[in-house]
């Protein structure tokens, strides 16, 4: 036998050991049905053959023989792009549990990808760095009504769980006159909507598959019209279907305008045909998952219907990091807020969404002092928020945790005596442990009027990604569950009615849980700013948030 030349190994070649996800395959259990390879949207596995040497013996005496056979197998493709993302579709379709992806916690993809492709890796999802525990999980609702006051009955009591969305005037500026012992309106004031304290966050058509977006819209309408929960959905920056713009369901939608202005041509042209006002306008300045960065929709997701809705050709769609022409808070108030308010004749609240930052308090302070009283909400988005596409370096290394920043903004308003005048809405990892009600409740106690959530909605719908490197391929257009893709075959994997049903069910459960949290502290309305209800065993959290430290 000739000596093996080990120099054929090239040490800088990528190997399976470098990959984040490794396919564990058991040929003994495999029926060679091929479903796994067909199901893999990333072409990370393929049918292949292996040459096998079999030694066997026949007869009574051991007499080894050798034969070579060719065995069909499923093989992982080893490369730095289109690699296995761990979505697990192969395991899901395999009838025999013969194949599954296994996380390789010693992987070197973060080095290899950059070194091979001269490219910054991009992905969807949220930050995957877990350098600290979740602050919200360190906080408990510790002020229980015992003897001093009675706890309520969550099942039987009546609760009023609505939150204001829109500019709230200070009492002395309310347009009231006293006439015959009654208060009467002397003029109109800013419009305030009363809505459920959880908004379905801004995910665009384009980032989401059209069917997924529709499922969320269906769930929103159902929650309002059948369940009786006035939940609002934000369109995201990607426009709206014409049919929805012209329908009465528009009143449940908050229209988003971001720096790309995608979809606004159609929205403005449809205004004469609108039969209802939208629930609000959300001006997106920034996003917690990729602060300082604009929206990003890669060309492979800009299919024909997306081009039509957004009014763009097929190309990578990069929203600028800034709204062009806006250079200061004051200017944005005077230009953008005034124009958006006047577009709907001051009947529709106009709010702003920014990424949480060390500058958030300055921005909020400034808006609170806005002399026009036209900023209808301050949406603050923390680092743990999700996105459909971003550079990984942004996702993991830029941003600000939401909890302390929300608290700071609330206390800044308290300092000015203006709490509640521009409602605070917080997001960025709200519900990422699966229990949205608890997170929402704690944020409300810390000063939020409500929260918004997006990534959780995808998980309710069947997203298989997690915050530990699994899938997060929303940017690729190859979403294996049909949620963030425009590929028709993949979208067909999504049962739209089931998605809507699951979202509705989740909100019904959350509504029950909110009551279960209100009842023990003895409150029948939202405890906005009631931080005395919270305790923490973490001294630093207690000090930073000004809540009680317990042990």
């Amino acid at each position: 036998m000739a000596p093996i030349d080990t120099r054929i190994i090239k040490s800088n070649d990528i190997s399976k050991d470098d990959l984040m996800w490794q396919i564990e395959y058991n040929p003994q259990r495999c029926t060679l049905c091929g479903k796994c390879a067909a199901a893999c949207t990333f072409n990370a596995i393929k049918p292949d053959v292996e040459r096998r040497r079999k030694v066997y013996s026949e007869g009574a005496e051991p007499k080894p023989n050798v034969k070579w056979i060719t065995e069909p197998v499923i093989k992982q493709i080893v490369r730095t792009n289109k690699n296995c993302v761990g979505c697990g579709m192969c395991a899901k379709v395999c009838p025999n549990e013969a194949i599954k992806p296994v996380y390789n916690d010693k992987h070197r993809m973060n080095v290899k990808y950059r070194a091979e492709n001269a490219d910054s890796p991009k992905r969807g999802g949220r930050t995957n760095l877990h350098t600290e525990g979740r602050t919200l999980d360190k906080i408990k609702i510790g002020r229980i009504s015992q003897m001093t006051d009675p706890s309520l009955d969550a099942q039987r009591h009546t609760f009023d769980l609505l939150a204001p969305f829109g500019r709230v005037l200070p009492p002395e500026q309310l347009p009231f006159v006293v006439k015959d012992g009654e208060l009467q309106m002397s003029q109109n004031g800013p419009k305030t909507q009363w809505i459920y304290p959880i908004i379905i966050g801004d995910m665009s058509i384009g980032a989401l598959s059209t069917r997924m977006w529709e499922a969320v819209a269906i769930a929103t309408a159902y929650l309002n019209e059948v369940v009786g929960l006035p939940v609002r959905m934000c369109s995201g920056e990607g426009g709206m279907p014409l049919k929805l713009l012209k329908s009465r369901y528009l009143k449940y939608m908050i229209l988003q305008i971001a720096s790309g202005h995608f979809g606004w041509d159609r929205i403005i042209n449809t205004m004469p045909e609108m039969v209802e006002d939208p629930a609000g306008i959300l001006i997106k300045i920034g996003q917690g998952a990729k602060p300082g960065d604009g929206g990003l929709l890669l060309a492979k997701k800009v299919v024909r219907h997306i081009q039509e809705i957004r009014g763009v050709p097929k190309s990578d769609l990069l929203s600028p990091p800034n709204h062009q022409g806006l250079y200061s808070i004051e200017e944005s108030v005077q230009k953008m807020f005034l124009s958006m308010n006047s577009a709907f004749k001051f009947r529709v609240p106009v709010a702003i969404k920014v990424a949480a930052s060390t500058t958030s308090v300055s921005v909020y302070n400034n808006l609170l002092r806005d002399p026009y009283n036209i900023v209808g909400g301050f949406f603050l988005d923390g680092i743990a928020g999700g996105t459909g596409a971003a550079h990984e370096v942004s996702l993991d290394h830029t941003g600000h945790p939401i909890v302390s920043r929300l608290r700071d903004c609330y206390l800044a308003a308290v300092h000015q005596g203006k709490q509640g005048q521009i409602p605070l809405w917080a997001a960025g990892g709200i519900g990422m442990n699966g229990t949205l009600a608890a997170d929402a409740f704690k944020m409300i106690c810390l000063g939020a009027n409500g929260v918004f959530t997006g990534k959780l909605i995808l998980q309710i719908a069947g997203c298989v990604g997690n915050d530990y490197g699994k899938c997060n391929a929303c940017n690729t257009g190859l979403c294996p569950v049909g949620i963030t893709t425009q590929n028709r075959t993949l979208v067909d994997r999504l049962d739209v009615d089931k998605v809507a049903e699951n979202i509705v069910n989740y909100f019904i459960a959350t509504n029950t849980e909110l009551k279960k949290l209100l009842a023990p502290i003895g409150n029948s309305s939202l405890p906005v700013g009631r931080s005395d209800a919270l305790v923490t065993v973490d001294k630093n959290v207690a000090t930073r948030l000004e809540i009680q430290h317990v042990c």
Binding site: S145, T148, D149, P150, L152, H157, T158, D160, L162, P164, V168, L169, P170, P171, E172, L174, F176, V178, G181, E182, L183, Q184, M185, G189, T192, W194, V414, Q416, G417, Q419, G420, Q421, I521, G522, N523, S524, S525, P527, V528, G529, R530, S531, D532
Partner: protein, 369 residues
Amino acid sequence: MCRIGAIKSKKYFHPVKTLELMRSQQKGHDNSGFAFVMQDLGGIFEGYKDLPTLSMACTNDGMHIAEDILHSIGFVRVMQWTPDIHPDIEGLNIRPMPNYVFEVFNYPRSYKYAPLSEKEDLLVDTRLKLRKALEEADEGYVYSFWPDILTLKEIGDPRDIGTYFGLWEENSDFTAKIITAQCRQNTNYDIVRYAAHPFFLQGYTALVNGENTFYEKNKLFQQSLYKGYIGFESDSQCFLYTLHYVNKILKWPLKYFKHVITPLPYNEITGRADRDILLKIKASLAHLEINGPNTMIGVTPDGTLFTVCDSKKLRPVVVGGNDDTVIITSEVTGINEVIPDRDISCDIYPNEREMVVVDNNLNIERWHQ
């Protein structure tokens, strides 16, 4: 647990009536103190209705501090009355202060032609100044400085406090037409004299039974609304400040106080003709909501007496009376003690969505929210 009570009469009456009213409810409170506010004064104070009366408990040094401040501002004392105390009786459960001061003053000369609002401002500023000075020196407490108002707050057993001040002996010198009272110090927390109900500010009196679970948000909002909103030694002071803010600062009719502290649920508001007003109140004054459990008794500067509950009605209150007198108190046993021969079928047990209001002719109205 607190028990609270208020008596309003067409005739002047002595504070012993409030002792009788509250003693019969003693199983509901803990006999840790006795405090009352007298409004619309009779007896020796009847001739001084327009002049500010100072109610203060202090040491000798505290007296000097207060007199110096009042003198420097220009107030001139026109009358002083000291209760006939009995320090010689042994075994009384009371922690008395050395001096109890009830003094009537003339306004400073420079205020002779000043509008009422300026005088009212001066009285608040002066009281705050006195309070600050006495607090810093730890030499006493100033409870009220306002025309036609007397306040006494004491720590101890109400029966013994009555004995110490000679309040069990009814006389016609020390009387009023409205007296609000309660028999408990704030025993959930440190005993602080300022924490005892009733609370008083610029003609408004409030006393409350219950736990204000929205205390923190009330307090954070109120502390920047008006200079007189200070202390917050008790979570119930928030009720007084909200009453004062709605009725005195915003100048809204009294009925809107109920809409501020217990706003209707959104779905109920939207079915009403005044929905625009109520929704704006609900949003703008969200931080003045109280979420109970509470029952409050309040008095306004014009002598209107009222009671109001939290939106869940988790604390008791009853209203009863006859042609001459109306009582609002926590338990009916108190009314039975003071007005046993009334028509009990006319007693009112208010519900969570109403205010029961007694005017100066003792007409009782039930205002449905």
